[in-house]
Amino acid sequence: MRAILRALSEARWTIFAFAITGFAMTILQSMAYFRMAGHTFAERAAFGYSLSLQAVASEVLFQPPVRPETVAGYVELRALEPLAIVFVVWAMLSATASTSLRTVSRAAAFAISVFIAAAAACVGVLVGVASGGESVGGLGVVEAGVLLVALAIACYAICLIVAQITPAATVVAAGLLLALFFLNSLSRVFAQLATVRWLSPFRYYDLSTPLPPGGHFDVLGFAMLLAIALLGTAVAAVVFTRRGSGAPVLSASAKPRRTTHEPTHVSLLAFPVARDLYPQRIALAAWCIAAAALGVLLVGAARASMQDLLALPRGLPGLPQYIFVFYSQVLGQTWFDVALLMSVAVVFAFVARWVADDRKGRLEAALSAPYSRSAVALERLAALAFTAAAFAALSGLAVAFTSRAMNLALDSTRLLDACLLLVLFSVVLGAAGSLLSSSLPRAAMALFGVLVLAGYLDDQIGGPLGVPRWVQDMSPFRLVGDPLANAVDGRSVVLLLLLTLALAGSSILAMQRRDVGA
C-alpha cells in the first residue's frame, strides 16, 4: 500500500495533466457540438450525415460512429475515441519508464491514476452536455469511463511484460501497440484479419459504444480487457522476480566479454547531427520502416474499401476523376493523419530526450567541450528535421509505389507537398519543444503535451468555439491542412515557416541564457 501511495505521489502532476486533458477534451467537444450541430432536427441530421460521410474515408482507423447527430454520439466519436488513444500512450510511457517499484504496485498505482483521469473526462461530458441544456444517460457515461480505464490498464499490462523482456522497452512497446491497433482497425477492411483480431485489446474496446442512444456495453469485451490487465500484470510480476536484478531478460550485457581500452572507430560520432541521432538510430530506423509499412497497408486498405467503386465500368462519365478525388480524400484521412500522429510521437521522443539530456547531465558534459549553446539548439533541430525527412520520404515513397502497383492514380505533386508538410510540421513542433526544454526543462514534457493537445483542439473546434482567427492560425494541425485532397495553401506554409523561425530563434536565446546543471 505504501508503494502504491509513493507511486501516486510521484505521478501526481502526470495524473493532474491527464485529468485536465480528459476534462478539456470532453467538455470542449461537447460545447463545440452545440455550436456546430444546430438546434433543429434537420440541422442535426445533416450534421450527423456529414460526420458519417467523413467516417467512411477513415473507416480503416476508427469504427463507424453510432448516432453522430446526437451530442453523445459526437462526444464518443470526437472526444472519447481520441482520449482512449491518449490514455494508451500514457500507459505505454508509464509502463516502460524505469522505476524501482515492483510491478504489481506500479500497475495498481497506474489503474488508480487512469481511473482519476477517466473520472475527470466523465465529469467533462456531463458538464459539457449540460451546458447545452441537454443530458446524457449517467450509466452510459460511467460505462464509457470504465471502458477507458479497462483499455488503458490492459495496454499497460502488455507494455509491462515488454519492459521485463527487452532493454528497448519503449520502442518495442510502441511498435507492439501500433501493430495491435492496426490489427483491429485493418480487420474492418481486410476480412482475413478478422480471424485474428481477438488478439488485439482494441477489438474489445470497439465492441462497446455505451454513450450514444441505442449504443450498448459489451460485458464480455470489458471482462476480456480486465482479464488481459490482470493476467498481463501477473506474468510481468513473475518475469520481474525471475530475471536478474536491474537487467531485462534479453539484456546483452550479461554475456562475458573481453575488456577493451580501444577508442571506437565509429566515425559517425564525429559529425554534427549524426552524433545526435546515433544513440537513437535503431529506434528511429524502426519507426521510419513502420511508417513505410503502414503506408503500404493503408493504400491496400483504401483500395479494399473502394472495391465497389472500382468494380464499376470505367467508361462511366466522370468516374475516373471521382475515383481520383475519393482516393485522395481517403488517403488524406488515413495515411496522412496517421503519419501526422506518428510524427507527433517522433517529436515527443526527441523532446523527451532533450529533457533527459539535461536531467542526466549529458547536456553539461556536451557543454564542457568547446561547443556553443546555439549549436546545441540548432543541431537538435537539424537532427529532428533529418529524421522527419527520412520518415516522410520512406512513408511517401511507400504510398507512391503501392498506389502505382495497385493502379490507383495519385497526384505526385500533392504527395510531395504532403511529405514536405510532414517535415515542416515536425520541425515547428520540435522548435516549440526545444523552446520549452530550454526555458522550463522540468515542466517541458507536460507543457509540450498541453501545447500539442491545444493545437489539435484548436484545429478541430477552434472555429465553432469562437477562438480568434490568429490563434487558430497558430495550430500546426490546422496549417498543414489536408494536402492530398486540397492544394497547399501558400499562406499556411509561410505561417509555418515563420512560426518555426520564431520558435527556433527563441529556443536559441533561451538556451544561451539558461543555467545548466544547476
Partner: protein
C-alpha cells in the same frame, strides 16, 4: 605581466534561501594548484560551474586565461578539462562511444592518449555506460577531463567513488599534469584530497570564501575530518 589562469571579481550566484556563492574574489596563477575546501552546499560546485559558463552569475565577473567565462565560454572550454561533481548518465552508449562523441565535439583528441588513460585506469571502453559501476563512471570522467591535455583542470571531487588504486593513479596523473604546467582547480569536501594535490587552499563556508592560505598553514583540526571544523 602574466595573465592569471583564473580571476573572479565579486562573483555571485544567488540560488535563493542563502544558497549559492557570494562575492568570490579569487586569483589563481597559471601552473598553480588551488583547492576549494568546503562542506556540501558551501558553493564549490557553483564556483566551478560559474567558471565553466554552465550557470550565469547573478553579479560579478569571472575570467579564465583572460577570457570572459560568459561571453567567451567556448574559447574558455577549449583550454579546460572539466570533471563534474555528478557523473552524467549515458545509458546504452558504450564507453568508447561516449569518448568518441565528446572528443568529436572537442576536436584534436588523440586516440593514443585516450587508450593510455583507459589502460591506466583500467576503464573497459567496450561496456555500456549503464553497466558501469560508480567507480568506473568516475574513471571515465577522468579520461574525458584529461584526454585533450588541457591548460587548466577543474576537478569537482575527483577521488570520490575511486578505489585505492584509482585514487593513486589519479594522484600520479595530476602530478604529471602539474609537471607539464597545467593549472589545477580542485574542489573537495575532504582536506586530505586537497592536501594531496594542491599548494594553496581556499575555505568556502556558506557560499563565501572565508580564508585563502598555503596548504602547510591549513589548521590541523581542518585536516580530518573536515566536517567538524567547517560548519555548513
Amino acid at each position: 605581466m602574466a595573465v592569471a589562469a583564473i580571476r573572479t571579481s565579486s562573483l555571485t550566484k544567488d540560488h535563493g534561501g542563502g544558497r549559492g556563492l557570494f562575492d568570490l574574489d579569487l586569483q589563481v596563477s597559471a601552473h598553480d594548484a588551488f583547492g576549494l575546501l568546503g562542506l556540501e552546499g558551501a558553493g564549490k560546485t557553483t564556483a566551478i560551474r560559474l567558471l565553466m559558463g554552465m550557470i550565469r552569475p547573478t553579479r560579478g565577473s569571472a575570467y579564465v586565461f583572460g577570457l570572459d567565462c560568459v561571453r567567451e565560454a567556448v574559447e574558455v572550454k577549449r583550454r579546460v578539462g572539466y570533471m563534474p561533481g555528478e557523473t552524467p548518465e549515458f545509458g546504452s552508449l558504450r564507453g568508447s562511444e561516449i569518448v568518441a562523441y565528446l572528443a568529436g565535439l572537442r576536436g584534436g583528441v588523440h586516440k593514443d592518449r585516450v587508450r593510455e588513460l583507459a589502460e591506466r585506469f583500467d576503464v573497459d571502453l567496450g561496456r555500456r555506460h549503464r553497466d558501469y559501476s560508480q567507480g568506473d563512471r568516475q574513471k571515465l570522467s577522468i579520461v574525458l577531463a584529461f584526454m585533450h591535455d588541457p591548460d587548466l583542470l577543474m576537478l569537482d571531487e575527483p577521488s570520490r567513488d575511486l578505489d585505492e588504486t584509482g585514487a593513486a593513479e589519479l594522484q600520479a596523473l595530476i602530478d604529471e599534469a602539474r609537471t607539464a604546467g597545467t593549472t589545477i582547480l580542485l574542489a573537495s569536501r575532504t582536506a586530505a584530497e586537497i592536501e594531496r594535490h594542491c599548494e594553496v587552499v581556499g575555505l568556502l563556508r556558506r557560499g563565501k570564501l572565508s580564508r585563502v592560505m598555503r596548504i602547510e598553514d591549513l589548521p590541523e583540526e581542518l585536516e580530518e575530518p573536515s566536517r567538524k571544523a567547517l560548519p555548513p
